[in-house]
Amino acid sequence: MKKAFPILAVLTVPLLGYAFYQAMFVAPADQMQGEVYRIIYYHVPSAWTAFIFFFINFVASIVYLIRRNPKADAVAVAAAEVGVVFCTVVLVTGPLWARPVWGIWWTWDIRLTSTLVLWLIYVSYLILRRFSQGDQMPVLASALAVFGALDMPLVYFSIWFFRTQHPQPVIGGGGSIDPRMLHVWLLNWAAFLCYGLLIFWACYRLENLKRELEETQSLESMLEAPRFR
């Protein structure tokens, strides 16, 4: 398992580079938006990557609530951290793209808004983890993650209906996708996934090491002879 990490790292760097090259230079320019549209190759794959990691967090949180396995909790926090980073990328690239193209910084676009709420929920999750006192912080955090996951379909539907009543511009627009664009999209997504997996793995191992250190320290103190009165 340990050997896989450097192999993945070696794979990821050129993949990221190649994906960047494809996105910036090879993919054809958009008819209406010109070169600016290329930000889509960061905006959309980041969103997909974030969703995948948040889903991993959801599954890991449920596993933790049922089994109380500390490794599941390590997976949950690592996935949440990576997910929040990619989610931030989506929220930053969205307005950066919208402004030159549609003239507005923000629109209650269903995808963008859902992503914002998801980001808020997971940032609150990370803050809860940091501010919790006591041993049972993973339990509380897992409960919050479950609540967040239950919330997301409701978020999506509420915004969807809101938009049917109050139509707003859609960032990214509909319309058909040039097959060459799709290929670059998927390439970038693969690159981001590898990168995300790399960071996730590092975070996960760090969490496990922290826990093992704590256990070792407490076991050491247990072997001390008791002090005499």
């Binding site: 041993d135 509380l140 409701l154």
Partner: protein, 225 residues
Amino acid sequence: MSSSARITRATLAKDIRLEWRSKDAINSMLFFALLVVVIFSFSFDPIAEESRHIAGGLIWVAFLFAAVVALNQTWARELRNSVLDAYRVSPAPPNALFVAKALGNFIFVCVLEALMAPLFTVFYNLRPLGPAWQLIPVAILGTWALVVNGTFFAAISIHTRSREVMLPLLLFPITIPALLAMVQATNAILTGQDSAKFWIVLLLTYDVVFTIACLLLFETVLYAE
């Protein structure tokens, strides 16, 4: 009546009795609710013709802030003298305690709303152009949405530093779809322009989903050390 329901009733009665005795807590919250209405009225011009379109948002945000003040003291009495330990040690089912606290908060926030709503109506000259009776299910379902998750997150906040900040911090993101529904439903009823039916159904779904989630997970949160 099952033993669980009896315990809920006893807990609710005890809480109401204690709230009634220390009327200063109620009085200060009522006054706070009044202040919120006044501040909002100064901040958002109530005379404008479009006030009907934004009133829904103003009212519910005001209710939300007042509710947070009430929710923050949900467990305050149980934390003093570690009374919560007495509950944990007893064979009483944790959900009986949760339902009692949620109902108590619900009643209390409804009282706050009953005070604030007429004031908003007065300051904003509100007259619903749509079916006014629909405001009742919106108020009930919307308040329950705030209160059920609020009571649950207040219990989670017990185990954190900066307790009073953690509650809204955890509550607000999860509440967003419900808040959207409450606001849109209220606007729809006041302006008479759209139907509030979808939003009422969404609120009902939200309430059912999260009431079940809270009941399933409260025991875990109560016994967290």
